[in-house]
Symmetry: C2
Subunit: 200 residues, 2 copies
């Protein structure tokens, strides 16, 4: 019996939780959410299935934890970019570069986060959709500010923002290590492309 | 017992097959591939589960049929766009507009096609991946031609083509009827954005 099953100390519990999250990411990436059993995840984290339930109520809750972490990280990097510089062009450059680097580095996780949304429970999906709306709003805010201040010229800021966001999201689908581009290469290129899209 | 279960005439068989495909699209969209039973699909097509198996070997085969149709339609519209005009800018405009209109109109189907790839069997996935590579190659071909002839100016044609493709693919995720844009509106805007991306 795994010692973490009974009264885990806080730091050991944290470490077990993150091992389980890592194992869940690997299993979901390999077999999909529906093809993964809690036993697969527990085995991947070198724990017993019972130990998994000490830390997470279900496989769905692990998916939710992965999804929330991913969306919060994206939201945070967009907010940092907006706060970093008063110039919307610099905000957009940093936002798109950081988003692309983050999604390229974490493409396995990002793919799970984007492709397994339908497996979330209704309350969890509602929370994730709230984060997605906040992400949309941050990016759209940069484009709208840029148009309002005359820094950007584009006929429809909302469509332009949707296109920029799509580039970032879909990166998780196509990006692979060894494809000839580092995450930083893609980040720089995507930032230039976003500035073209908004007519900076 | 449904009369199509035994010796269906060719035209009646076609009609049954397309009813099953339509019912599968509705069921997969509502419940996801893994949450859908063959009974759900048969009921949606007003057939018995046994009748379903006359026309399709499995739920997975229905997904494959939907996926192949969707990818073939995209490949064909890109090929038509390339053949329609010698100017790469006009090719790109038509390609992106038609792709966006097609994906916005058929966003439910396109979402299934893009998000349930992991549920395909290995040989079916290999065939779909072949079509996806052909789609990539058509779009990249337009951008490369445009750069070669000096019609486009962009630092990395492959990244530019990937960004344009991402816009089109991810449209299926965010587009909804009643969101304020017709498929044609989005098509026109996306065509303009694609021309900005490649520096036409």
């Amino acid at each position: 019996m795994d010692e973490t099953e009974t009264a885990p100390s806080p730091s050991r519990a944290d470490s077990s939780r993150s091992r389980l999250v890592e194992a869940a990411v690997r299993a979901f990436a390999e077999k999909g959410f529906h093809g993964t059993t809690t036993r697969d995840i527990a085995t991947g984290a070198q724990m017993s299935p019972a130990a998994l339930y000490v830390h997470h109520r279900s496989k769905e809750e692990l998916l939710f934890v992965i999804s929330r972490e991913g969306h919060l990280a994206t939201l945070e990097l967009l907010r940092r970019a907006r706060a970093a510089d008063p110039d919307p062009a610099e905000q957009l450059r940093q936002a798109v570069r950081d988003f692309a680097v983050h999604h390229a580095r974490g493409h396995t996780r990002a793919r799970i986060v984007n492709y397994e949304l339908a497996a979330l429970s209704e309350p969890h999906l509602a929370e994730i959709n709230g984060l997605r709306r906040a992400i949309d709003a941050e990016l759209r805010g940069i484009v709208v500010d840029g148009v309002a201040t005359g820094r950007f010229a584009c006929p429809d800021p909302r469509i332009a923002a949707a296109a920029v966001l799509s580039m970032g999201i879909d990166l998780a689908r196509w990006y692979r290590e060894g494809g000839g581009w580092s995450p930083e290469d893609v980040g720089e290129r995507y930032a230039e492309i976003a500035l073209r899209i908004v007519g900076a």
